[in-house]
Amino acid sequence: MQTHKAKRVAIIIEAPMERRLRKTLEDAGVTGYSILPVTGGSGRSGSWSAEGQVGMAGGMVQVVCIVKPERLDALLDSAFSVVERHIGVVTVSDCEVLRAERF
């Protein structure tokens, strides 16, 4: 099967910031991403879990974008402007995709 190089960017960020991150990504021309729920975790600010919450203030979400390598930097710049003061974890890894024309 013919595959093409791409980058997978995963951003874990506070749920109340989801809307802003989505908007920023869309403004930066990143049209493809998916959002996965995160139900718990641990970090410098202690550990948490979705069941122990009222309201969404404490929750996190993971935003996953698959992008062409050449669009990585623009994506990271715009994402960073949102997560900068926040606790978001940003990872980038290599991957291959089918149907490169979609990215």
Partner: protein, 335 residues
């Protein structure tokens, strides 16, 4: 002589009120939740069910308020009560901020973030308050629901102003402002209030066996979950709770309720509504304000403000606060 007898009678009243309150299924459910969480039981309430229950409670309480206003006509005091609520919500953070400066070592940002919570309100405390009123057979004004909605947001502005006077900057923008004003619970409360006003008693009759009769039982389950959340929060964050913070968490609701009482008397609220205004002033937000703080003041530590409002002040109000405020409200209005 007479004064002492009177005080004794009041104290008696208060004690019996407190006992009734403490052994109601509502409070016991909350206590069960706290104990289960502290004992590290794996009992959890699914997040979706908790959200659904809170939508139900907000809708029901809003609608009941609206129906009651439709029934009794709009009262002149409505305007006064809403203004009083806004003033309280805006002013209490300033008091809280000062108090935190005296009692704790929190930095400016964290102190302001905590202060915001105490100006705003906890609608569940309000709902529990209406239940206590009902059991005591005391009437209250339907429009107090609108006052509750009006008190959610001003506190956030005050806190952001406090922060911006220091050197840290906040992320306040039109988007956040809209998010705060149109947050789910305000929309539900105000919307259901409006629906109640439109459909009146007659329309309510249709949906009474869903929104009215099962209300208290549903509140039991919700308080069970609140107990679980509060208990788990306490267990996780016991190390952030200094003595000063703890003291603040108990003292501030008393100060808030006193301020609420003062303004409520000024505008001539009767016992039931006065009590509810005191409850609103005494209670601290743990839904709307934390979400706003996460966005606007990411540097503030949620462990501090959530633990204080949900783990300390909420249980205090629910158990001891409510009977105290009710005894005072009856006393002050000569009831």
């Amino acid at each position: 002589m007479f004064g002492i007898k009177y005080m004794e009678a009041v104290l008696d009243d208060f004690l019996s009120l407190a006992t009734t309150n403490l052994i109601s299924p509502l409070i016991l459910s909350f206590v069960l939740g706290v104990c289960a969480a502290l004992g590290r039981s794996d009992l959890v309430f699914p997040e979706a069910a908790a959200k659904a229950l809170s939508i139900y409670l907000l809708f029901a309480i809003g609608m009941k308020g609206g129906v009651s206003v439709a029934d009794h006509g709009v009262d002149l005091r409505l305007g006064g009560a809403i203004i009083a609520g806004i003033i309280l919500s805006a002013a209490l953070p300033l008091i809280a901020f000062k108090l935190l400066g005296i009692m704790t070592a929190l930095d400016r940002t964290n102190a302001a973030a905590v202060a915001a919570h105490y100006g705003s309100i906890s609608i569940v405390t309000f709902v529990a308050g209406t239940s206590v009123l009902e059991s005591a057979g005391i009437a209250s004004d339907g429009f107090m629901v609108a006052v509750a909605a009006a008190m959610e947001a001003p506190a956030i502005l005050s806190a952001l102003w406090l922060i911006s006077r220091g050197d840290s900057e906040t992320r306040m923008d039109a988007t956040l402002w809209r998010e705060i004003m149109l947050n789910g619970s305000i929309v539900l409360l105000v919307g259901a209030f409006a629906i109640g006003m439109i459909v009146g008693k007659e329309g309510m009759a249709d949906v009474e066996s869903f929104f009215v009769s099962p209300f208290k039982g549903a509140l039991c389950l919700f308080l069970l979950d609140m107990g679980l959340v509060a208990g788990r929060g306490l267990r996780r964050s016991r190390n952030v709770l200094t003595l000063g913070l703890l003291g603040f968490g108990f003292l501030m609701p008393l100060i808030g309720s006193a301020a609420g009482a003062a303004l409520g008397l000024l505008i001539g609220l009767p016992a039931g509504s006065l009590f509810l205004l005191m409850v609103l002033s005494a209670s601290a937000s743990y839904i709307a304000v934390p979400a706003a703080m996460r966005v606007a003041v990411p540097e503030a530590d949620p462990g501090i403000y959530l633990t204080l409002s949900l783990g300390v002040t909420f249980p205090f109000n629910l158990t001891l606060g409510l009977p105290i405020y009710l005894a005072l409200a009856t006393l002050l209005t000569g009831g």
